[in-house]
Amino acid sequence: MATRIDMPQLGLTMEKGAILQWIRAEGEQVTKGQPVVLIQTEKVEYEVEAPAAGTLLKVVAKEGEELPVGGLMGILGQPGEDVSALLAASAAEPRAAGPAPSKDNHEPPATSQEPGAGTPRQPGERIKISPVAKKLAQEHGIDIATIAGTGPERRIVREDVERVIAAGGAAPTTAAPEVIPLSGIRKVIFDRMGQSWREAAQVTLFADADMTEVVRLRQAKGAEWERRFGIKPSYSDLIHMAVARALREAPRINCRLGGQGVRIRKEVNLAFAVDLGEGLVAAVIKNADKKSVGDLAKAAQELAGRARSGRLAPDDVADGTFTVTNLGGLGVESFTPIINPPQAGILGIGRIMEKPVVLGGDIHIRSMMTLSLVFDHRLIDGAPAAKFLAKVKELLEQPGWIG
């Protein structure tokens, strides 16, 4: 049977590729997995392997030709085989079309698991059991859902029931624990958080910020902001604004561990934590101190959206200089987050709560919020850290500067 060799999709954003060189000529035999043709997309050269064994019957796309992803490059098959139908179908394909659906010529992802004998049954999976085993189980009053099958396709066979009977009737395990493998994002978080906790000399400073004026400002200006920017900045956005400005005024805090020392950075690249359900990621707003409140809000919204749909670009997460993490929305009052290395500081934001506060001898109801600054004392001293936290507090308590 003839097999198509298609332009592979080597990345989500790849739309087309060019034939650089045919490694095999028409009429040559190849085994599955042998390189057949070299293609190029942007500055990447890629060896395309034979999707099946056979003879290269037809080179459809010549060297130098550009094809959309999924476009027919060549045909493999048995000598003498008629490929006119495939060629006719390919001629009908649009040549310079946009991204075509990717043809699956890769191995399946490593996570897919062949359902094998003895593996735990998925919830809702139909239970396969031999008639003899079923009768035996009924006689002994054993729930067949609790028996692990070792036959083909996890079918429960007589021996499986006998094993349960021998063990005293009850199946050794009923509900297998769910295992989240230490790979991908879990592994990254595992490694980075562990490294940070082991290495950084962490100190936490707490301060309560009176957010009453920020609450008032947001109420007064919310509608106007929405009109001007097309988005109503959240409390997080206003806090980002204050932190970015405080960092600009306290550059000593805006530093990273790198090379042979502490590198104090001129630009404020503010990272903020985005919850992904399983896992989290710190997206980075570049030059946050130079953005208006509307631009900051838009940047955060776009980054969070990309993060949740798994479409962050490498540049969206690289080169943060300081992180803010807000658990206030989840009802947390205060907490001590872990520094995101190689950064030197992270600010935890608690929830805004109305509290009785004594001001000038009188008790007032004010909207209070706890800030917790965790910093790496190897890189930053206590006094500058305290001054920075005081600056953030001041900027939030007198927010008239936010335009």
């Binding site: 999709q9 080597l10 990345g11 989500l12 954003t13 790849m14 650089l20 060189q21 390189p35 070299l38 190029q40 997309t41 942007e42 500055k43 990447v44 050269e45 890629y46 060896e47 392997e49 060297e63 130098g64 890769h106 992802p109 490593a110 790979s183 991908g184 994002i185 592994k187 990254v188 978080i189 490694d191 980075r192 562990g194 490294q195 290495e199 990273r256 790198g258 090379g259 042979q260 590198r263 950075r265 001129k266 630009e267 992904l276 896992g279 990621v281 710190a282 993060a307 749909s309 798994g310 479409r311 962050l312 670009a313 490498p314 540049d315 969206d316 997460v317 690289a318 080169d319 190689p342």
Partner: protein
């Protein structure tokens, strides 16, 4: 196994990858080393590896690329003490010389989301983050691979992929003598388009420092890339 000689291997805490600092090594020797590592990476007997090296003067030309981008023929290059290689990688004519930090990532993209273009973006992001540590504002220009500073090219990029293993990589001009580029049209562009960190900063730059920071930013960028939700997605 690879003959390591004086090569320093650094394992980075928390990441299963290594950096090979080769110092100054001729292009041909480093190329064989890359090919050996690609093979070993395929077999899974070495982790993801970033080779960092400087080459004595050499011109390389990507396969199936016009020789017109060589302004001198190979014999004339040889007379000037410049080696010449035609190789299998994406990209066009490139010039390497001491003062230029060359990086060859031998990475298994099956563990990095199987996305070669995203991998290129990651290399650019790591280089831009490196430059930022020196106060240089580098940027990626869509459609023009590499890293640019005010319209001049500071780092070139061109990779090959064999069975999802990457090789070849990037060349970052740290203190490169830019006059050397006069023998080619780098990536088909005018030789005057190239710049270096030293040329921008107007001061000497420590290659050791750049090497160390590139390795750190690579580790950071690629671990963050995985955390950004693309692992195994394609």
């Amino acid at each position: 196994m690879l003959a390591m000689g004086t090569v320093r291997i650094e394992s980075r805490p928390g990441t299963a990858w290594q950096v090979l600092n080769l110092g100054l090594e001729p292009f041909g020797v480093a190329l064989r080393r890359q090919e050996e590592l690609v093979h070993q990476r395929l077999l899974g007997i070495v982790p993801d590896t970033l080779i960092l090296v400087e080459h004595p003067p050499v011109v390389t030309l990507g396969r199936a690329k016009p020789r017109g981008n060589l302004l001198l023929d190979p014999a004339m290059l040889a007379a000037q003490g410049v080696e010449f290689f035609e190789i299998t990688r994406g990209g066009d004519a490139t010039y390497h010389a001491p003062g230029q930090l060359v990086g060859y990532p031998i990475f298994d993209l099956r563990q990095h989301g199987r996305d070669v273009l995203r991998f290129c973006r990651g290399m650019e992001a790591a280089l831009i983050a490196t430059l930022a540590e020196f106060g240089i504002a580098g940027e990626a220009v869509p459609g023009r691979a590499g890293v640019w500073v005010h319209g001049k090219k500071i780092a070139s990029l061109g990779i090959s992929v064999r069975r999802w293993i990457t090789f070849h990589g990037f060349a970052l001009n740290v203190t490169t003598d830019l006059a050397g580029f006069q023998v080619i049209r780098p990536c088909g562009e005018d030789p005057g388009i190239m710049t270096s960190m030293a040329a921008i900063l107007q001061r000497p730059v420590s290659m050791d420092e750049v090497r160390r920071i590139v390795a750190e930013r690579f580790a950071e960028t690629f671990s963050l890339m995985e955390a950004s939700g693309q692992t195994g997605a394609v």
